[in-house]
């Protein structure tokens, strides 16, 4: 059988990509991009003026070859038949990331911020390119059907996701662990492992498939999309189960984001207590940030603690994957037949070893300075450009408004900034970010403070490049994953994931609240 279809589809996809590139490059799209950027600079212009050119040219050339060339059956034909589908997914992912997701943000922004969270609906619901990519895939498969020429390519989506998970290792570093005390590591470990165990236990009692229980446990235990994606192949999860897990996590997080700050104020929690609780109990990063800012709108102390807790959960990921690998084989094949050592050797996913390898490389500091924190690093001592120092008029603006600042630490940090023309330490940077967040000073003054922050703290170029790769691999993988989710498969999965997610999430939130109130004071 010859798998490569003599279809014009790949050629057309290439031409469409080249047309997008031309419209962006020539400036003919500027008006629309300005609308999407809502008065700011359109952030993805760099991608828009390069990627469609490269991929469009490749797709056009290969499309012409597929349409006009002759194809014989064989290994080469089998693998080359995936190109059309792969490019189809990529085109949809491009449209979602560059146009649809920003358009959703425009509509959401026009509706205003939600309560005290200070965030817009699309941020709270996580309606970004990831979720919209899955939705786009679901619409395509259920409304239009995946065309025959694209079907082989859709099966590449898991490869993209696995590659993305391996590269995730580059964004973390063991250096982050030094920010944590012993109690927080114990707390994260306990609640992550506890949530995974509880989800698996309830899942078994409610008779959901092992694959569904496995992937849901990783999502509920660790955090959001990355963990779900990493655990899915180990438990042979179906596309619909992955999508259900992501949906459950996001919906649960929305509820938490509103309830957590209210409970936090009711119990009179400190910033550190609330940060630890939100970082443990809420699963999605954006929603953790939303809850922390809602609790403390005038500073970022809570946000910082919550972020550290949230990020560190990812470091438990390899342990969870190992556990799920053994658990899944035991459940599927019967406990008496299983030799744990053999299972680990035979089933342990190599891509998780890849994640650990890149995490280890990242820890050595070869991708970014050793003190980098999720890509952000402080650069105040070497190669600091003169042009980035505050100008005399900026200093005058800040000096004129210095009287508005009441807190002593903020006064001191502001004084040092005005004196030196740059932020002098990481501590000062944190204090000044809190000052911006508190909106004590005018918009102009806050803009100057934000500029000073950017001058000393920015993302390392290599880390930025890795992030872009991960973004695209996840966008590609999840859009393709959406194309495997039919309405029939959704009906089959039923509402169990949401029920189990709710039970586990509520238990974790209550227990972690108790632990935080009992054991955490002003220090972590």
């Amino acid at each position: 059988m010859v798998y490569t279809k003599k279809s014009p589809a790949l050629l057309v996809i290439g031409i469409v990509m080249l047309a997008i590139w031309y419209l962006a490059q020539s400036g003919m799209m500027n008006g629309y991009l300005e609308h999407l950027a809502m008065g700011k600079k359109y952030k993805m212009l760099g991608e828009l003026t390069t990627l469609p050119l490269y991929f469009g040219a490749i797709a056009a050339v290969l499309g012409a070859w597929q349409l006009f060339g002759s194809h014989k059956e064989g290994h080469f034909d089998y693998y080359s038949s995936t190109i059309a589908g792969g490019m189809f997914i990529l085109l949809i992912a491009m449209l979602v990331r560059w146009f649809i997701a920003p358009e959703v943000a425009v509509v959401s922004t026009s509706m205003g911020k939600v309560g005290e969270t200070g965030k817009y609906i699309h941020k709270l619901l996580g309606l970004n390119y990831v979720v919209l990519g899955i939705l786009a895939g679901i619409v395509i498969v259920n409304v239009f059907k995946v065309p025959e020429w694209a079907q082989n390519g859709v099966r590449l989506s898991r490869l993209g996701l696995k590659t993305g998970v391996i590269l995730l290792g580059t964004l973390y570093s063991a250096a982050e662990l030094k920010n944590l005390g012993g109690l927080s590591i114990v707390m994260i470990g306990f609640f992550v492992l506890g949530s995974v165990g509880m989800t698996l236990w309830i899942g078994a009692r409610r008779n959901i498939p092992n694959s569904m229980g496995g992937v849901l446990s990783a999502g509920m235990g660790v955090c959001g999309v990355s963990a779900t994606v990493a655990a899915a192949p180990v438990v042979q999860a179906k596309s619909v189960e992955i999508a259900y897990t992501i949906g459950t996590i996001l919906l649960w997080g929305v509820g938490c984001m509103f309830i957590f700050p209210i409970v936090g104020h009711l119990f009179g929690m400190s910033y550190i207590q609330f940060g630890a609780w939100a970082g443990t109990g809420i699963l999605n990063s954006a929603q953790v940030a939303g809850a922390a800012l809602a609790f403390q709108p005038d500073g970022i102390e809570t946000l910082k603690v919550a972020e550290i807790f949230n990020i560190t959960r990812v470091l438990v990921l390899p342990i969870i994957v190992l556990w799920l690998a053994v658990w899944y084989v035991r459940r599927e094949e019967g406990a008496q037949k299983v030799n744990v050592g053999e299972v680990i050797f035979a089933k342990f996913p190599v891509f998780v070893l890849g994640f650990i390898l890149l995490f280890a490389l990242s820890t050595t500091g070869i991708f970014a300075p050793a003190n980098h924190y999720k890509g952000k690093y402080f650069n105040n001592t070497t190669d600091f450009k003169e042009s980035k120092l505050l100008k005399a008029e900026d200093k005058a603006t800040l000096q004129a408004e210095a009287g508005k600042v009441q807190r002593e630490d903020r006064k001191a940090a502001l004084g040092r900034l005005i004196e030196n023309g740059k932020v002098m330490s990481i501590d000062d940077d944190d204090v000044l970010r809190g000052l911006v967040n508190a909106k004590v000073m005018s918009k102009d003054a806050n803009k100057i403070l934000k500029g000073a922050h950017k001058a000393v703290r920015h993302t390392a170029k290599k880390v930025k490049a890795f992030r872009n790769w991960i973004v695209w691999l996840f966008a590609f993988g999840l859009t393709g994953l959406g194309m495997q989710i039919t309405v029939a498969s959704m009906k089959q999965a039923g509402g169990q994931p949401a029920v189990i997610g709710g039970i586990v999430g509520a238990t974790k939130a209550i227990l972690s609240l108790v632990v935080v109130l009992m054991l955490i004071g002003d220090k972590v």
Binding site: M1, Y3, R155, K162, T163, T170, K238, F351, G354, F466
Partner: protein
């Protein structure tokens, strides 16, 4: 049977086994990591 001679995958993957897919993902990731390392 002969029709599927070269199709070694499943509904979710074009590869014959998870491990093969994992290795391919690892190879791609290392190539990307190396490219990023040398070009930035």
């Amino acid at each position: 049977m002969s029709e599927n001679k070269y199709d070694r995958g499943s509904a979710l993957s074009i590869f014959g086994s998870d491990r093969k897919e994992d290795f391919m993902a690892l190879v791609f990731a290392l190539i990307i990591a190396f490219a990023v390392y040398v070009s930035y």
